[in-house]
């Protein structure tokens, strides 16, 4: 999450769900929390009971909206216009928290004199290489004054901004030139003011389709509920991330929260609500192509990464916490390659594969569709129905030589060769498929990392049935077999595999909680893996207590430095700790939160520059002068004994470069970045662009869509031009409470299918009337990529909006159906496209264009090229409603 990482230092939710109840005002945007994260939403409800103001800004009126004090409908994909308007409102009306902003952000920092803002260049920054879809940093000059124009860690497009090195940026001078009076025209504050000058309330209303009053009420509520005595929180989910501007939307929220002084304080922060049980964990310990565990950059050919020394020289950030990178990297290599990792051979650095292109999901599947990939391992993911442009994904699967599917049920990605909308002919499909049934989480030990960075262990209750095995078993046993197959090899390129430490067998038969013995042979001991993740001393094999004990001389091994401390001694697996502390609302002994069990990140900012709480009401962490330590209800996210009065100089390095009043210890200057001199590819300040497919012109700038957005060319992946009259309707996808993703974990379950039995699409009564679509009747939704059919849900929950003086219709499409499982239905993701954010390659399923009509696929000329799905046979009829829908709001 570079949106958060570039602004604050770490790409993760800055606070924890329970803390939402301490908010005085909560803005939920890009999230339908009540329906997608119902249990987390109870803390929002507690806040409301305590008198907080709750606001929901969303294209779709949902149960979240119903529970809020205020609901503002907006056009999907216009979030930066809305948030930019709030930034403008804060600055224009002098509502920013002056002491906080001056001390804790880079507001006063002076930017290179050659910088030219999007304000002057029609919506782009200088240095744009339009053909290559990138900014030339040497020209762009986003950097601080006195720094080289081309920042050390800013990479070209093929490497995404996931790693700490790139997000954090690198400064030669940790104390950059500043103007504390904020008058210098090149200081961040003045640039910010100019950049957002055009984000006026009337413009916001015109672009987003809400009224000025609705917008102003949200802006004013946030301002009125921020400051010394009060704090506001922002909650988002994939409604923000799944855009070509997703990273910048989150950056914009970061700017709002920094200007209002809400970061690192109770009831404040930005709560990212993530969608999978361990999606945070699979980013921290990444099954991602561009990072190694703990956000260490994957070595790449595009950088000077020849030797370990070159790599560290390139990637180290010499000021702030990332100066410790050599310790984390060498310890990782020791964890992977054991004794074979020696100083003489660069600790095995040469064995780590280099990336030489963008290998993220979308381009990987595009290459697969072109027949360039031989094999695919699928672990609990379902691209045949769930990935953007699912149709293209199904074609990709058909080009594979072999495919391993690890799942519980025969999902779409396992059955695409004989069923699906394309009516495939098995005799024409070469893919050799292995369906290896997986264990459920109740049938294995292990830890999940939840949305608030909290590691929680789940205990194995019973053995998995039949051939079902944990994914750990599969990878462990596959590794053993491959090691055997290569055992005789003397080839250099096989030595990494042969030297890989791979010793996770249980020491004795595993005992299950009911006292019986496990009958599964070859299951790895998950606590042995957790110990390696936590780190240990190489010589004694002793668990390390935390990442501060890691060394760069090869004497420690650690599989993921940010998780270090989770297993500090034998028998003390803190992820498995389940103690509530009635005295401490942060529940420090319930699970383990990275980093170092800090529940709220950047919590040094909960105290003023002198170390005193901003107010008694919002007291959290403070400097105890007598004890000479930081203290409070949480673990300080700061050096525990660094006094507030400590001052860094430009000669300081490492943590010495972080002053005692600089709470953002990961950043090279210790301050949060309103303006990002590096770390984002598409500009230092969030700028409103229309989605790649949009029926509306960009009303703020001549530049229509993000000039850097990634576009993947394929016949099956065509995009509609902006304002294409054939596709005047905006489509967005979303989740229902009763279903999950494309359905593998819900559509094989009778209890859930009973609650939510059929695919439908929500549309407004005006649109339905215009197109002759009836509530409960069939409708077709089509665009350049596919045509799908669904039952129509005609409802006031989706409002037609007035945008740019015209009526604009949006439709809402749940994305849970497919052609496998107990209930089947059209796939929303056949309509979505492969286009992506330039920072992270995240797709844009939340905003695309389409058209609708009454009827079914195949019964009109326009959509004849698409086949009907699921079936033309009679479906159980949904009765037509004769009861008019009530006013939703």
């Amino acid at each position: 999450m570079p949106g958060l990482g570039t602004s604050f230092g770490r790409g993760a939710a800055t606070t924890f769900q329970e803390d939402l109840q301490n908010s005085d005002c909560i803005l939920i945007m890009g999230s339908n929390m009540a329906e997608a994260h119902p249990v987390g939403f109870r803390f929002v409800m507690k806040a409301r009971e305590n008198g907080a103001k709750i606001m929901h800004v969303d294209p779709h009126f949902s149960r979240t909206s119903a529970m809020c004090n205020e609901y503002v409908p907006i056009r999907t994909g216009t979030d930066i216009a809305f948030l930019g308007g709030i930034i403008h409102y804060i600055l224009e009306n002098d509502r920013w928290f002056k002491e906080y902003v001056l001390a804790y952000t880079n507001a006063a920092t002076i930017i290179n004199g050659d910088y030219t803002d999007a304000e002057e260049l029609g919506g782009v920054f200088n240095g744009l290489q339009r053909e290559e879809r990138r900014y030339d940093q040497k020209v762009a000059a986003w950097n601080y004054a006195g720094e080289p124009k081309q920042p050390k860690n800013q990479t070209d497009q093929a490497i995404k901004a996931q790693s700490f090195s790139e997000r954090l940026g690198h400064l030669e001078n940790p104390v950059p030139p500043q103007d504390p009076t904020l008058q210098d025209p090149m200081c961040v504050f003045q640039i910010l003011k100019r950049h957002y000058a055009r984000y006026l309330a009337e413009k916001v209303a015109e672009i987003c389709g809400c009224s000025q009053q609705q917008f102003l009420s949200v802006a004013e509520s946030l301002c009125a509920n921020s400051g010394r005595e009060r704090t506001s929180a922002i909650v988002y989910a994939v409604g923000w991330t799944q855009h070509t501007t997703g990273v910048q939307i989150i950056r914009a929220a970061g700017i709002v929260q920094l200007l209002l002084g809400n970061m690192g304080r109770p009831g404040g922060g930005i709560m990212a609500m993530r969608g999978h049980a361990s999606i945070q964990g699979s980013t921290d310990i990444p099954t991602l192509y561009d990072i190694l565990p703990g956000y260490i950059p994957q070595p790449a050919t595009m950088r000077d990464h020849g030797t370990l020394k070159d790599y560290l020289k390139q990637e180290e950030v010499s000021t702030g916490y990332w100066a410790n990178l050599p310790k984390f990297m060498v310890s990782l290599l020791k964890a992977w390659y054991g004794e074979a990792a020696k100083k003489e051979n660069d600790h095995g650095f040469g064995w780590v594969p280099r990336i030489d292109a963008n290998y993220s999901q979308l381009p990987a599947f595009l290459r697969m569709a072109q027949g360039k990939v031989k094999g695919l391992f699928l672990f609990g993911q379902n691209p045949a129905a769930g990935a953007p442009n699912a149709k293209l994904n199904r074609k990709a699967l058909m080009q594979l030589d072999w495919l391993v599917v690890r799942d519980w049920f025969e999902i779409e990605s396992a059955s695409f060769w004989y069923k699906g909308p394309e009516k495939p002919d098995p005799k024409a499909i070469k893919t050799e498929i292995f369906f290896l049934p997986a264990a459920s989480n109740a049938e294995k030990d292990g830890s999940f990392t939840n949305t608030q960075r909290l590691l929680q262990w789940h205990d194995k209750a019973v053995d998995p049935p039949g051939d079902c095995r944990s994914d750990a078993w599969f990878v462990f046993q596959l590794g053993k077999r491959l090691k055997k197959l290569y055992a005789e090899s003397q080839q250099k390129r096989d030595q990494g595999l042969l030297n890989l430490t791979w010793d996770y067998d249980h020491d004795r038969m595993q005992e299950l909680p009911d006292g019986s013995l496990s009958k599964i042979i070859g299951e790895p001991d998950m606590e042995k893996i957790l110990k390696e993740i936590n780190g240990y001393t190489v010589k004694e094999g002793k668990h390390v207590a935390g990442f501060s004990e890691l060394k760069d001389d090869g004497s420690t091994a650690c599989g993921c430095w940010i998780y270090s401390g989770v297993f500090p001694e034998p028998g003390r697996n803190r992820a498995r700790s389940r103690k509530r502390d009635a005295q401490n609302p942060t529940s420090p002994d319930w699970g383990f939160a990275w980093p170092h069990n800090r529940r709220m990140m950047y919590n040094r900012a909960s105290a003023d520059p002198e170390g005193k709480p901003w107010s008694e009401r919002k007291k959290y962490m403070w400097w105890d002068e007598a004890a000479k330590r930081w203290t409070g209800v949480d673990t300080p996210d700061f050096e525990p004994d660094k006094p507030p009065s400590y001052r860094a100089t430009n000669e300081s390095r490492g943590m010495d470069a972080i002053s005692g009043d600089a709470p953002f210890i990961m950043k090279p200057d210790g301050r949060a970045w309103l303006f990002a001199p590096m770390g984002t590819k598409d500009g230092p300040l969030p700028t409103h662009y229309e989605p790649m497919e949009s029926p509306v012109p960009n009303l703020l700038y001549p530049e229509q869509a993000s000039p850097l957005a990634e576009v993947f060319k394929d016949d099956l992946n065509q995009l509609a031009m902006a304002m294409d009259p054939e596709y005047p309707i905006v489509g967005t996808t979303y989740r229902l409470t009763e279903h999950y993703l494309s359905g593998p974990m819900s559509r094989f379950n009778s209890w859930l299918n009973e609650l939510q039995p059929e695919m439908f699409v929500e549309l407004s009564p005006e649109l339905a009337q215009q197109r002759g679509i009836t509530h409960g009747g069939w409708m077709v939704i089509w665009n350049k990529r596919a045509a799908i059919e669904a039952r129509a849900m005609v409802t006031g929950r989706v409002q037609s909006l007035t945008v740019n003086g015209r009526t604009l219709h949006q439709i809402g499409i749940p994305f849970h159906w497919g052609f496998a499982g107990e209930t089947v239905g059209s796939m929303a993701n056949d309509l979505t496209s492969m286009v992506a954010d330039p920072n992270v390659s995240m797709h844009e399923a939340k905003a695309f264009t389409c058209n609708v009509r009454a009827g079914r696929v195949g019964d009109a000329d326009v959509a004849d090229k698409f086949s009907a799905w699921p079936t033309r046979a009679k479906s159980p009829d949904t009765p037509e409603s004769d009861q008019p829908e009530g006013q939703a709001i």
Partner: protein, 185 residues
């Protein structure tokens, strides 16, 4: 193994206290009755759906899961679960669940059950073959050491330890680079 014992003891004591006829205005018959989870083994788990992280209690009796409920001790969910979380039982105990290895040969029109050992060996062989074919040691004088022709997808629904093994073996061992999951942000 020490895991649920202490917890069980506490809950047993409290249940016994509750059942004491002196504390309850119930008939002897009623007192003799109890819920079906009464003498089940209680196992701590975490909901496998979204990332809220609700704690769950799995009840095991006779080697089988008989119920999964929200854990009242958790500061996050305090015993509650949403409709999906309440459905967790049906993920493990489900008639649609595939319990044996299935194999579909190239151009075949059917699944065939196969032996797990056979499948593992075949997958290892195919992985090796693809690696031999696709491995790039260097290009233009740059070390590359990667194999771009095999892709791994998934991880966000799995344990940290499993993600660790995937990254370590596929990337650090084999040189696969196209390793991805749902978390592309």
């Amino acid at each position: 193994m020490d895991r649920p014992l202490e917890f069980q003891k506490q809950s047993k004591n409290s249940i016994e206290r509750e059942r004491d006829p002196r504390n309850q205005p119930f008939s002897a018959n009623t007192i003799a009755k109890h819920s079906r989870i009464h003498d089940a083994t209680k196992v701590h788990s975490v909901c496998p759906y979204c990332a809220v992280g609700c704690s769950q209690l799995i009840y095991v009796k006779g080697g089988k899961i008989i119920d999964i409920e929200g854990n009242p001790d958790s500061p996050i969910n305090e015993g509650t679960l949403c409709p999906k979380g309440a459905n967790t039982f049906q993920l493990s105990v489900n008639p649609h669940r595939v319990k044996q290895v299935m194999y579909r040969a190239p151009y075949s029109d059917r699944w065939e059950p196969r032996d797990l050992e056979w499948a593992m060996e075949r997958i290892a062989q195919l992985t090796k073959e693809a690696r031999e074919e696709g491995f790039v040691e260097e290009r233009d004088g740059n070390i590359i050491n990667n194999m771009p022709n095999v892709v791994s997808l998934g991880g966000a629904t799995m344990d940290n330890e499993e993600n660790y093994l995937i990254k370590k073996l596929f990337n650090g061992g084999l040189g696969m680079v196209a390793i991805e999951n749902q978390a592309r942000i």
